[in-house]
């Protein structure tokens, strides 16, 4: 059963349509990428899921029904607008926020100790929040998103302000949460992170659904008829089934002819005695798919 089931929701602010007839579902044990250009309606969508805004029409079922007070305790949310109480010590701030998620103070404190140690913040726990660096505050906020062991985690741009080491740490913990069966919605513009982490994605633009499915499906859909090879011996000028050969960063891009499949080209190359260290079907990076789709969307709207 999905943890979130969104059915035909729409939301307008005055004349602006923020979200238009959107439907999707998020399941336990998956990292779900919520993608889209700036102003696409991602944050509005998240706020509707979290019951901050009510949709004008459509239905949202969360953890098996409408939002209730108890369900709020089972959700961890890292909003786009980062913020913690600035004038109090870090630990007290985190304990308070954890108690607002229904955790008793004592268990919050002991759980927090584990997280503070994991994120290397234990030594600064008595410092005022405003004295911490941006990255530290971001980690602290992640802790407050995760400390009550939520079943649903919604995180908006979790990697901004983090260095590569911390980014890895956060990725590890998100993957661990997924393996525990938690559902994670991640909204980000960092497509490389989406490729590494997300099982399924939803791409929206101007409030409309543009792409929805597993990462694999979507990349396959956009896969071009190209092959990358890294030959040890020079390639012949003409290869059967290839219409064009281009040089690219030490690799060669082979453009397939109509009706020719990659494995046939591989066979031809081997038969010709070409030695290779790499042979891969060119899957377009998500970044390219994103740009391509959004640009097409803009062109369609202009028309």
């Amino acid at each position: 059963m999905p943890i979130i089931n969104v059915h035909n929701i729409s939301k307008r602010f005055g004349e602006t349509v923020a979200v238009d007839n959107l439907s999707f579902a998020v399941h336990p044990g998956e990292i779900f990428g919520l993608l889209g250009p700036n102003g696409a309606g991602k944050t509005t969508c998240i706020r509707m899921i979290l019951d901050i805004f009510e949709p004008d029409s459509g239905e949202i079922s969360i953890l098996g029904g409408p939002m209730t007070d108890d369900k709020k305790n089972r959700i961890g949310y890292l909003p786009e607008e980062r913020g913690l109480y600035q004038d109090i010590p870090l630990e007290r701030c985190l304990v308070f926020l954890a108690t607002l998620k229904g955790m008793p103070e004592k268990s919050a404190a002991s759980k927090l100790t584990e997280y503070l140690q994991y994120f290397d913040l234990y030594d600064v726990r008595d410092k005022k929040v405003k004295e911490l660096s941006k990255g530290m505050q971001q980690k602290a906020q992640l802790i407050s998103t995760l400390v009550h062991d939520p079943d649903l985690i919604i995180i908006d741009e979790p990697f901004t302000a983090l260095d590569p080491v911390n980014t890895e740490m956060v990725k590890d913990i998100l993957e661990a949460k997924r393996d525990e069966g938690k559902a994670i919605i991640m909204s980000t513009h960092q497509m490389n992170q989406v490729e590494e982490l997300c099982d399924r994605i939803l791409l929206i633009d101007h409030g409309h659904l543009v792409l929805y499915g597993t990462l694999q499906e979507i990349q396959d859909r956009f896969a071009s008829r190209d092959i990358f090879v890294r030959p040890r011996t020079p390639l012949p000028a003409v290869i059967e089934g290839i219409t064009e050969i281009r040089q690219m960063n030490g690799r060669q891009l082979l453009v397939l002819a109509e009706d020719v499949e990659p494995h046939q080209v591989l066979k031809t190359l081997i038969n010709q005695g070409i030695e290779m260290t790499a042979f891969e079907v060119a899957i377009p990076p998500l970044n390219e798919i994103f740009i391509q789709v959004v640009k097409k969307q803009a062109r369609d709207e202009d028309v």
Partner: protein, 404 residues
């Protein structure tokens, strides 16, 4: 309930266990103690302890029994020197050997025109000691009319009464005037403190950008209930501590000035105070929450709330007008304007008798306005959330537009 309690605890702890709060809590009593101390020290240093003369033409002090009292540094026992005539006494006064002299007329005590001559007004202790000296020696007159004696011993006591005798004012009950005013001041300081903290607490979520996290953890009503109770508790803590200081001060003061132990407040004044102050407290708290909810920055919020504070304290600026004409137009207007009502009513109660219908009407108006303010605060809070990060305009707040 658990979450409301957590919010109350958080709001209360972060103010009360804060150096700034302790400082403001202690500053008032410390200031009062310092002022009292300064007054003591000054009166001690300027006190003239030189002897006092008297010319007795009545014979009451012909062979006086000396005063049997013990002095202390603030109340020295004065030496009273007899003079044969006024010329000699005047000469010694001018040369500074005595600080003043009394002339008791012939025919005293039937004639009670005792004159006092001085260059600087002698203090109250000296005058009281001379009075005691005379009273102690009244028995010199063996045929003194007992009524005259009693009158001399008890002195005069003026009692002013209203024409319908609904109210009396005795000259020794000045505290009935002072106490409601002092309590109003303490109350208003408490309300302002709580209101200020509440304002800060409501704006804080927006300024710190913690609103989204909080609002996805608790309901808006849990948040506002917790914040309001938490911050009002901070104000009440301050009120209780100050009242304890006042009480301790009165207990200590009563050992030096016995009249302080007589200070008490009549029951009906206490009842009216509660009826007026409770809705006023809710009203101010709700107004501050409203301001906090529609503003996005603390500095702006404080400017607006300053305007409201001014309206609340306006009666203090026109104290003399209210005092001299407690039933005048200004006093009436101010007591029906909800913001200035609490203090105006207390002031008017100090100086005049308020008709019951006026008090009742005031209470009703305050309760209605308080309820309206709470409703407005709730609406402002929901609007403020929707217009996250933007200011809510008056048009939004009072307009008929739907919230979502």
């Amino acid at each position: 309930m658990f979450k409301i309690w957590q919010i109350i605890k958080y709001e209360y702890r972060r103010h009360v266990f804060n150096k700034r709060f302790l400082f403001s809590l202690l500053s008032l009593p410390i200031m009062v103690i310092a002022m009292a101390l300064a007054a003591f020290i000054i009166s001690f240093f300027v006190m003239d302890t030189s002897p006092v003369g008297y010319v007795d033409r009545s014979g009451v002090l012909s062979s006086p029994m000396p005063l049997d009292i013990e002095g202390d540094i603030f109340n020295p026992v004065f030496e009273f020197l007899p003079y044969r005539d006024e010329a000699q006494a005047q000469q010694d006064l001018e040369s500074g050997q005595i600080q003043a002299y009394y002339v008791i007329p012939e025919g005293f005590p039937e004639i009670r025109d005792i004159e006092l001559f001085f260059t600087d007004m002698p203090n109250w202790t000296l005058q009281n000691q001379f009075r005691l000296l005379i009273l102690q020696n009244l028995d010199t007159f063996q045929n003194l009319d007992p009524q005259v004696k009693t009158r001399l011993q008890e002195g005069s006591l003026f009692t002013l009464a209203t024409v319908d005798e609904s109210r009396e004012m005795r000259e020794d009950q000045w505290f009935l005037v002072i106490t409601p005013i002092i309590i109003s001041i303490i109350f208003i300081l408490t309300v302002m403190t709580s209101g200020g903290y509440l304002l800060q607490a409501v704006v804080e979520e927006k300024e710190n950008r913690t609103m989204e996290i909080v609002i996805t953890s608790v309901t808006p009503s849990q948040l506002m209930t917790g914040k309001t109770i938490g911050n009002i508790s901070v104000g009440l803590t301050q009120l209780v501590v100050w009242l304890i200081f006042v009480w301790v001060g009165l207990m200590i003061g009563a050992r030096f000035w016995p009249f302080l132990s007589e200070i008490s407040l009549p029951g009906h004044i206490i009842v009216v105070m509660l009826l007026i102050f409770l809705p006023a407290f809710v009203m101010v708290a709700a107004i501050m929450s409203t301001i906090g909810a529609v503003m996005t920055e603390m500095s702006e919020a404080q400017q607006i709330s300053g305007l409201f504070s001014l309206l609340i304290t306006i009666p203090f600026y026109v104290t003399t007008t209210i005092m001299s004409n407690p039933n005048g137009t200004l006093a009436l207007i101010l007591s029906f304007f909800p913001l200035s009502a609490p203090i105006t009513i207390m002031m008017r109660m100090a100086f005049t008798t308020l008709p019951t219908w006026q008090i009742a009407l005031n209470v009703v108006v305050l309760v209605i306005i308080a309820a309206f303010s709470v409703w407005l605060a709730g609406r402002a809070f929901r609007l403020g959330m929707l217009k996250y990060g933007k200011k809510v305009s008056l048009k939004d707040l009072f307009g008929k537009r739907e919230l979502t």
